[in-house]
C-alpha cells in the first residue's frame, strides 16, 4: 500500500527491484523462501505417496488406511532419501549437482537479465538449442585446432547462436510490440524441430547412421574435467565467471542502469533520454548469450554430442532459478546450485527408487508458486508478517 494521501488510487504500488534485493537478504523473505521449499516438498510427498505402486496395491487389496499409510510413508522416505544422497551423498553426487548447476545458473541468468528490463524470457530452451547446435557444430566440424583456440571458438559460436535467437524476440518486441512471451515460445517450438531436422542432415549426422545424433565433439573442444573420473567440468567455473560479469553488468554498469530504468518505468527512461527499444533488444540478446552458453556448456561438456531433446525443459528450469533468486545475480547463482542439487538428486532417485524425475519438476513448480505468492505460504503456515501482496514484475500485452 502506498501512503494514504489525497492522490491515493486503486492501482497497486509496483514493488521494486531494490526493495526486493533488500528483502531477499533480510529475515522475513528468507524464511518465506525456506517455508516455500518445505511446502513444496510436502505436496511432492503427497504426490509420491498416492502414486506409489505398493500404496495403491495396499488400497486396492483393502488392507486399510494403516497399510496404505505405511507403504506411502516408506515410499516418501525412500524417494527423498535417495534424492538427498544423490545430491550430496558422495563426491560423485556433488559432482552431478555441480554439473546440473552449471546449466541452471546460465539459463537462470538468461531469465534474470531481461527481467531487469521488464522482459519475461521463456525462450531459454530455444536459446539453449541454438547455442548447443552452433557450439556443437564448431566443436566437431572444425578440426586441427589446439584446445586453447578450439574451445573458446566453440563457446563463442554457442554464444552467437544463442544471441541470435534472443535477438529476434527482442527486435520483434521493440519494433512491433509482439509480446516476448509468445514469440519466445514460438521460437522454442520452431527450434526444436529445426534441431531434429538438422540432426538428420549430413551437416550433423554421423556418416552412415540414420538416427538423429550428431558426431562427437572433438577433444580439443571439450570442457576439461579437472577431477578425472568425476563428470564435473570447468563449465561450473565458466558459469560463475559469467555470473560475475552479469553482476557487474546489471548492478554496476551504465548498461544495467538503463535496463533497470526501462524495466521499471519505460516512460521515465525515455524522458531521461534513454533508448528503450535498444535496451529491449540488448536485454534479450544478452539473455540469448547466456542461454546459448548454457547449451554450449552442455554439449561441449557432459553430453559430448547433440541428441534430440537435449534441451527439454531447460528454459523453464531457468525461470524457476531466476524467480527463486528473485531477479538478483547472487540469488540466481544460489538458486542454480540449490536446484542443481534437486535435479541431480532427482536423477539418482529415479535410478534408485524408480520414482519419475518429473517429481522434481512438480516440486520445482510448487516452490515457485509459493515464492511468487508469499501470501499463500503465510496462509499455509499461519505466518504473520508485513507486506501484503505478491510482486508484479512482468508487463502485460500492451506494454
Amino acid at each position: 500500500m502506498s501512503a494514504p494521501t489525497d492522490e491515493m488510487t486503486s492501482t497497486p504500488q509496483r514493488s521494486t527491484w531494490s526493495a526486493r534485493v533488500v528483502a531477499t537478504v533480510t529475515g522475513a523473505d528468507a524464511r518465506l523462501t525456506a517455508l516455500a521449499f518445505v511446502a513444496a516438498f510436502l505436496f511432492g510427498a503427497v504426490l509420491l505417496a498416492v502414486s506409489d505402486a505398493d500404496a495403491i496395491a495396499a488400497l486396492e487389496a483393502g488392507e486399510g488406511p494403516a497399510a496404505f499409510l505405511g507403504a506411502a510413508l516408506s515410499a516418501v522416505g525412500r524417494g527423498y532419501t535417495a534424492l538427498l544422497v544423490g545430491a550430496f551423498g558422495s563426491g560423485g553426487a556433488v559432482s552431478e549437482t555441480l554439473v546440473a548447476a552449471t546449466v541452471l545458473i546460465l539459463t537462470g541468468l538468461a531469465v534474470t537479465i531481461p527481467l531487469r528490463a521488464g522482459l519475461f524470457n521463456i525462450g531459454g530452451e530455444g536459446q539453449v538449442v541454438a547455442g548447443g547446435l552452433a557450439g556443437g557444430y564448431v566443436g566437431f566440424a572444425v578440426e586441427g585446432l589446439p584446445l586453447l583456440v578450439h574451445l573458446p571458438l566453440a563457446l563463442a559460436a554457442a554464444m552467437a547462436g544463442g544471441a541470435l535467437v534472443g535477438w529476434i524476440p527482442g527486435v520483434l518486441k521493440a519494433r512491433t510490440g509482439a509480446h516476448e512471451v509468445i514469440s519466445t515460445i514460438m521460437l522454442n517450438n520452431t527450434l526444436t524441430f529445426v534441431a531434429i531436422w538438422l540432426l538428420t542432415t549430413s551437416l550433423f549426422q554421423i556418416p552412415g547412421r540414420s538416427d538423429p545424433i550428431s558426431r562427437s565433439i572433438l577433444d580439443t573442444a571439450r570442457l576439461p574435467r579437472p577431477f578425472g573420473g568425476l563428470r564435473v567440468d570447468v563449465g561450473i567455473v565458466l558459469a560463475v565467471i559469467i555470473a560475475g560479469v552479469v553482476l557487474w553488468l546489471l548492478d554496476r554498469s551504465t548498461v544495467g542502469f538503463e535496463l533497470g530504468a526501462v524495466g521499471s518505468n519505460p516512460s521515465a527512461a525515455t524522458a531521461a533520454g534513454m533508448d528503450v527499444a535498444g535496451a529491449t533488444v540488448r536485454g534479450m540478446t544478452f539473455a540469448g548469450i547466456a542461454g546459448g552458453l548454457a547449451g554450449g556448456a552442455l554439449i561441449l561438456g557432459v553430453q559430448g554430442r547433440i541428441t534430440p531433446g537435449f534441451s527439454s525443459g531447460l528454459g523453464f528450469d531457468g525461470i524457476t532459478v531466476a524467480l527463486l533468486g528473485r531477479g538478483t545475480v547472487g540469488g540466481t547463482v544460489a538458486a542454480g546450485l540449490l536446484l542443481g542439487a534437486l535435479k541431480a538428486g532427482g536423477r539418482a532417485m529415479q535410478a534408485r527408487s524408480g520414482t519419475s524425475l518429473d517429481l522434481v519438476v512438480v516440486v520445482q513448480a510448487l516452490i515457485i508458486v509459493f515464492v511468487a505468492a508469499p501470501g499463500l505460504v503465510r496462509a499455509l503456515f499461519r505466518v504473520r508478517s508485513e507486506g501484503a501482496s505478491g510482486t508484479q514484475i512482468s508487463q502485460g500485452w500492451g506494454a
Binding site: 497497486p12 519475461f120 512491433t176 512471451v181 501470501g375 514484475i393 500485452w397
Partner: protein
C-alpha cells in the same frame, strides 16, 4: 514531408517490398517446376454425400504465374498508395496467394483434397479456439491467463483417464472440464487472492501441470495402460446440413467438440457484448474501481471469469485425447496453449475474432499435414514448424494495433 509522414512512407515501402519479395517465390522457384503438369483439387469427400462435386483441375505453371502476378500487383498497389492500417492485411492477402501457389505447385501431378484440408483446418482450430476463448473471458475481466497450455495438459490428461476408466467420452469431457477449472481456480487464487504476478503465475501453473501430468504418466499410466486408452468422440454428420455440397462436408461432418466449439463461440460472443453479465465482466477488466463503486464485486466477478475460462480451456484440452490422439502423452499439447493466446490477441479479445485467428493457425497445421503427404522437396520435420512460424509472423504483424482491456494484468486493490 513531416517526420510522421516520413515514418509512414518508410513503413509503406517496407510493406510493399515484403509483398514483392513474396511474389518472387512463385514466379521464379515454383512456376518452372511444374511445367506441363496439372494439379487436381478434390472437392468432395468419399463418405456418402448426396451431391458429389467434380474435382477441379488446373494447369500448374499458368496458375502459379497468375498468382505471382496477383501478388506483384498487390505489391505495386502498396508502392503506389499508402494503405495505412490495412497494409498488413494486404501482406496477409499476398501470403494467402503464395500459400495457394505452393499448394498448386505441390499438387503437380497429384490430387489434393480441399475437403480434407479445410476439415482439418476446422478440426485443428478446436483447441486453439477454446483456449483463446478461455483467454478472452479471463482477460476481459482483467486477469492475464498464460496458463492455457497447462489447462490443456491437465484437461487432456484427465479426459484420457476418465474416458478410459468410465468408458465414455462424455465422462472424459467432464474430467477435462474439471481439470481445466481446477487450474483456473489455482490461477484465480494466485492472481486475485494472493496478487502474484499474473504472467509468472500462469507460467508456473504450466510447469506444474506439465510436471504433475508427466509424473503421473510415468508412475501410473505407463504401468496401467488401460487407464490411458480413452473412448473417443466419433465424427457424426449433422442431418440435412451435412448434405450441403462442400460446406456440409467441411463443417457438418465433424466431431462433437467441433460443434461444441462453434456453438460456444456464438453464445460467448452474445453473452460478452449483449448481456448484463458481459457488461459487468468487461467493466471489471476495464475499470475495476468504477465497477466497485457501483456495487459490482470485482474480485468475485474476476474469479468466476477465470474459472469459467478454465472450463473452456479444459474442453480444449479434452480435444487432444478425446479426438486428436488415441491416448495421453507427456507434453502432447506442444505449445498450442500459447498459439491460443496469440489467437486471442490477434482476434482482439473477442470470441469471433479468436475463432478467425484459430482457423488461420488451424489452416497452417492442416496445410503442413497435407504437404507432408505430397512429394514435396521439403523436409517434413521443418513443415511441422509452420503453426509456430505463422503465429510469430502474425503476432509481429499486429504492430501496436492492439487495444488491451485497460486493467488487464493489474491486480485490484481497494483504496
Amino acid at each position: 514531408m513531416n517526420p510522421l509522414e516520413r515514418a509512414a512512407r518508410r513503413r509503406q515501402l517496407r510493406f510493399a517490398l515484403v509483398t514483392l519479395v513474396l511474389a518472387v517465390v512463385p514466379a521464379f522457384l515454383l512456376a518452372p517446376d511444374g511445367a506441363g503438369q496439372r494439379a487436381t483439387f478434390v472437392l468432395a469427400d468419399a463418405r456418402g454425400e448426396r451431391v458429389v462435386l467434380e474435382p477441379l483441375q488446373v494447369a500448374v505453371t499458368p496458375t502459379v504465374v497468375t498468382l505471382a502476378v496477383l501478388i506483384a500487383l498487390l505489391g505495386a498497389l502498396q508502392l503506389a498508395r499508402d494503405l495505412g492500417r490495412r497494409a498488413p492485411v494486404a501482406v496477409g492477402a499476398a501470403a494467402g496467394l503464395l500459400v495457394l501457389a505452393v499448394l498448386v505447385w505441390a499438387g503437380a501431378g497429384e490430387s489434393v483434397s480441399v475437403v480434407a484440408l479445410l476439415r482439418g483446418t476446422l478440426f485443428a482450430a478446436v483447441p486453439i479456439a477454446f483456449g483463446a476463448m478461455a483467454g478472452v473471458l479471463s482477460e476481459r475481466a482483467g486477469v492475464i491467463n498464460i496458463a492455457i497450455e497447462g489447462q490443456f495438459l491437465g484437461g487432456a490428461f484427465a479426459a484420457a483417464v476418465l474416458a478410459s476408466v468410465v468408458g465414455s467420452a462424455w465422462a472424459g469431457l467432464l474430467g477435462g472440464v474439471v481439470a481445466g477449472a481446477l487450474i483456473g481456480v489455482l490461477l484465480a487464487l494466485l492472481t486475485i487472492r494472493y496478487q502474484a504476478d499474473q504472467i509468472v503465475s500462469g507460467v508456473v501453473l504450466i510447469v506444474l501441470a506439465t510436471g504433475v501430468t508427466s509424473f503421473l504418466t510415468s508412475q501410473l499410466l505407463s504401468v496401467n495402460p488401460d487407464w490411458n486408452s480413452p473412448v473417443r468422440f466419433q465424427a457424426t454428420a449433422v442431418p440435412v446440413l451435412g448434405d450441403i455440397p462442400l460446406l456440409g462436408s467441411i463443417v457438418f461432418r465433424q466431431t462433437m467438440l467441433v460443434y461444441l466449439m462453434l456453438i460456444t463461440v456464438v453464445v460467448l460472443q452474445f453473452a460478452l457484448f449483449r448481456t448484463r453479465w458481459g457488461l459487468r465482466l468487461r467493466s471489471v477488466g476495464e475499470h475495476p474501481a468504477a465497477a466497485d463503486t457501483v456495487g459490482i464485486d470485482v474480485l468475485r466477478t474476476r474469479f468466476r471469469a477465470v474459472v469459467l475460462g478454465g472450463v473452456l480451456a479444459g474442453v480444449g484440452g479434452s480435444w487432444f485425447t478425446l479426438e486428436a490422439a488415441s491416448q495421453f502423452a507427456k507434453e502432447m499439447t506442444a505449445g498450442r496453449g500459447f498459439i491460443a493466446l496469440a489467437a486471442m490477441l490477434v482476434g482482439r479479445f473477442s470470441p469471433v475474432g479468436a475463432l478467425s485467428a484459430a482457423l488461420l493457425f488451424g489452416f497452417s497445421d492442416a496445410l503442413a499435414t497435407a504437404l507432408q503427404r505430397l512429394p514435396v522437396p521439403l523436409p517434413s520435420t521443418l513443415l511441422r514448424t509452420a503453426p509456430y512460424v505463422v503465429t510469430l509472423l502474425v503476432v509481429a504483424g499486429l504492430i501496436g494495433r492492439l487495444r488491451v482491456p485497460a486493467a488487464d494484468g493489474k491486480p485490484y486493490v481497494k483504496a
